[in-house]
């Protein structure tokens, strides 16, 4: 076990996910972290996307050309920011090198890939954490406290929304092969993870409908952009999630996440990205959104690094990532079956 005074070696692997920049900025200046980055798949991205050494230079991060070099450096931990479909290979290589793994969400694009990642990390004795930053929001802590204290009574159900602009700046997000789907794959998992933590129960029935009305004429978008997912949990809670990319391009902020939970004690609704100052800027023509919520990425990284130092199991671990991926897979199966109810085997 690394002593707290020894800096942890952390490698950010791939810049495919835009969060890579946020992680680098948070890790770069920490005295307790040594940072290295690699983005060997940069050449597979469209030429107008800043990737690879240019991205590392922009963010002031040390860079190597290959994952092999990054792993030979002997990192204590890696953060996997590859395209969703490439998480598995990167995570398996990291586990084989003995590095703990924080993996962007969704954990993988297929359940069997996530299972392989779990097995590899378990076999290597390294931690696997899924990057669900909303878990670390103070708003969610409040909600969780109200559920756990019994103030909300028996949970009847919930309505979750994770609406955002159609992802831009990284084309793979709207490529169903690399992303694992569209809005369903991108936006169901955050809400599903919060419910997973809140209820501690498996989803026993999932039903989803989707459409591609939003951005239907955008040639880059080849997957669903709108979706409603109905989830029944083992204890009987009935949930509906709106995962649509329904925030217009001109909106003042990217989108957000809300979770409204109703129990016999009443209803609590959280809006973890809602704290903001609004108004107009840019000569009065541009709607303003000055968000001042907690930096959830920072809270999440703090938790992960703490787990790496102590060996404690991280909050949203690989198993949480797998359970939520199973919900997405069931939703996709439901859509493929024309809206049939899918009952995932637990």
């Amino acid at each position: 076990m690394t002593a707290p005074t020894t800096p942890l070696r952390v490698a950010v692997l791939s810049f495919a996910h835009v969060h890579a920049g946020s992680y680098i900025a948070l890790l770069r200046d920490r005295p307790d972290v040594e940072l290295l980055t690699a983005d060997p798949d940069a050449a597979t991205a469209p030429p107008d996307e800043l990737r690879g050494r240019g991205f590392a230079d922009l963010h002031g991060a040390p860079y190597v050309e290959t994952y092999a070099e990054a792993l030979e450096w002997g990192p204590d931990a890696v953060i996997v920011c590859a395209e969703n479909a490439r998480h598995r290979d990167v995570a398996l290589a990291a586990a084989a090198a003995g590095a703990h793994v924080l993996c962007e969400k969704p954990l993988a694009t297929r359940v069997e890939d996530a299972e392989a990642m779990l097995a590899a990390c378990d076999a290597a004795g390294v931690l696997l954490m899924t990057a669900y930053p909303v878990r670390f929001s103070p708003e969610f802590a409040t909600l969780r406290g109200l559920v756990e204290s019994g103030a909300l009574g028996t949970v009847l159900g919930a309505t979750g929304t994770n609406n955002g602009k159609v992802p831009s700046g990284r084309a793979w997000f709207t490529d169903p092969e690399l992303a694992g789907g569209g809005a369903l794959a991108d936006h169901v998992v955050h809400v599903a993870d919060l419910l997973d933590a809140l209820l501690g129960e498996e989803a026993v029935a999932v039903r989803a409908v989707t459409n591609r009305v939003l951005h239907g004429d955008d040639p880059r978008v080849r997957a669903e952009t709108g979706g409603l997912v109905s989830i029944t949990y083992a204890g009987g809670a009935e949930v509906t999630v709106d995962c649509s990319w329904s925030v217009p391009d001109g909106a003042a902020t990217w989108g957000g996440l809300t979770l409204q939970v109703t129990g016999t004690g009443g209803t609590v609704e959280i809006d973890p990205f809602g704290a903001h100052v609004d108004g107009f800027v840019g000569g009065g023509a541009v709607p303003a959104w000055l968000g001042f919520g907690e930096n959830l990425d920072a809270l999440m990284l703090e938790h992960f690094l703490g787990c790496v130092r102590t060996g404690a199991t991280p909050g949203p671990d690989g198993r949480a990532g797998l359970r939520t991926l199973r919900v997405v897979a069931a939703a996709q199966e439901s859509v493929a079956a024309g809206g049939a109810v899918v009952r995932p085997a637990s």
């Binding site: 009574g153 028996t154 009847l156 159900g157 309505t159 929304t161 609406n163 029935a205 039903r207 409908v209 989707t210 459409n211 009305v213 939003l214 951005h215 239907g216 004429d217 952009t225 709108g226 979706g227 409603l228 109905s230 029944t232 009987g236 809670a237 009935e238 949930v239 509906t240 709106d242 649509s244 329904s246 925030v247 217009p248 909106a251 109703t262 129990g263 016999t264 004690g265 009443g266 209803t267 809206g339 049939a340 109810v341």
Partner: protein, 370 residues
């Protein structure tokens, strides 16, 4: 929404309120504001209601039928069929509180009774008259948000414990038929005809208090999908409605909890209290509704032709389809599976014109279908 033609005040009507409960108390002031003469018949509370609204009491339903032009049926849901069909058979126009019937068969029987009697029958789908919903619908149908894609509607409050029949699913149809029928109707009004209904519900009683939360997901013929949430919740729950309507060229949203020009800090609604949705702005939506219906009633002693300029924005056929959607939702809850419907075919079968999808250019030009 197309403006109503400027008209002289409708000739005075005599209206018979059958029932003297919460809805009667909401309707009576609206009728009085229009100069209507009120006659009340109810097994309970008729004298108090009549006294409060300057009306008189009819000793029997038959006596009421003898003296009125219009019957306003504000009785518990399972009695709608009997009361409204008797009124129609007696040659009276009818405003029947929603849901039009306890079952789709009841609602359909009323539609047929109205046609047989050649009288006007409208369901009390008052949400179509709330300004926020009316404005949203008009904007959507004017193309302001492009093609509707994903819609969310929510409506909820304390479990209605002020009258025991609400808690009896056999009589009220529960939260799906009694409360969510509003948003099922509005969803169809906004996003067009429906092809699939899926619903889930959790009901439980804790410490003697019943609770029900239900979700309905609709798939529309034009491709849009809609989530409707309904809550009969804990006794302190404040009544709240909201919508979020996203299209490929914009989003419209409303939440009664954060809208309106009044902010108050008052004690919670007392347990068992009768909460009513406050209008977001302006006059009571019940008055807006009843004014539009009163003009239609006054325009003709018989049914109005489909192209009549005073046809209200809601029809008996809409009331039938709304109950059929609620019934499909209840079927889905029981079966745990989605239920295929075809409201467009159903509307045609019943002699109506289906709602075209809202991005149809012809529609934007023509205004709202009846």
């Amino acid at each position: 929404m197309p403006a109503l033609p400027a008209l002289p005040a409708p000739p005075p009507l005599t209206v018979g309120l059958v029932g003297a409960g919460g809805m009667a108390r909401a309707h009576a002031p609206a009728w009085r504001a229009l100069g209507t003469e009120l006659v009340v018949h109810s097994v309970d509370g008729a004298a108090e209601l009549a006294a409060a609204h300057d009306g008189r009491v009819a000793a029997s339903f038959d006596e009421l039928l003898d003296v009125v032009d219009v019957v306003d049926v504000v009785t518990p849901t399972p009695t709608h069929l009997e009361v409204a069909s008797a009124a129609l058979a007696a040659g009276r126009h009818v405003l029947c509180e929603k849901p039009l019937g306890r079952t789709a068969a009841d609602a359909l029987a009323l539609l047929e009774a109205a046609r047989a009697a050649d009288r006007q029958l409208y369901p009390g789908h008052v949400v179509r008259y709330f300004p926020e919903y009316a404005l949203m619908r008009a904007a959507v149908h004017a193309g302001e948000i492009g093609t509707p894609a994903v819609l969310r509607f929510a409506r909820g409050g304390a479990f209605p414990s002020w009258s025991p029949w609400f808690a009896d699913d056999a009589r009220s149809g529960g939260v799906v038929l009694d409360l969510m029928v509003h948003d099922l109707d509005v969803a169809r009004w906004v996003a067009g005809e429906v092809t699939s209904v899926f619903a889930t519900r959790r009901s439980l009683e804790e410490d003697g208090a019943p609770h029900t939360l239900a979700h309905v997901v609709l798939t529309h013929a034009g491709g849009a999908i809609t989530h409707v949430r309904g809550l009969w919740g804990a006794p302190h729950t404040a009544f709240r409605t909201s919508f979020h309507v996203a299209g490929d060229a914009g989003v419209l949203r409303f939440d009664s909890a954060t809208s309106g020009g009044v902010r108050s800090d008052l004690p919670p609604v007392p347990t068992g209290g009768l909460a009513r949705p406050a209008p977001a702005a302006g006059e009571s939506p019940y008055l807006t509704e009843i004014r539009e219906l009163a003009r239609a009633f006054a325009a003709s002693p018989t049914a109005l032709p489909a192209d009549h300029p005073l046809r209200p924005r809601v029809s008996a056929l809409d009331g039938v389809v709304a109950v059929e959607l609620a019934e499909a939702a209840l079927t889905s809850i029981d079966a745990g599976e989605p239920v295929a419907v075809d409201t467009a075919a159903r509307v045609r079968e019943l002699g109506g014109t289906p709602h075209p999808p809202p991005d149809t250019p012809a529609l934007a030009a023509a205004g709202s279908p009846v």
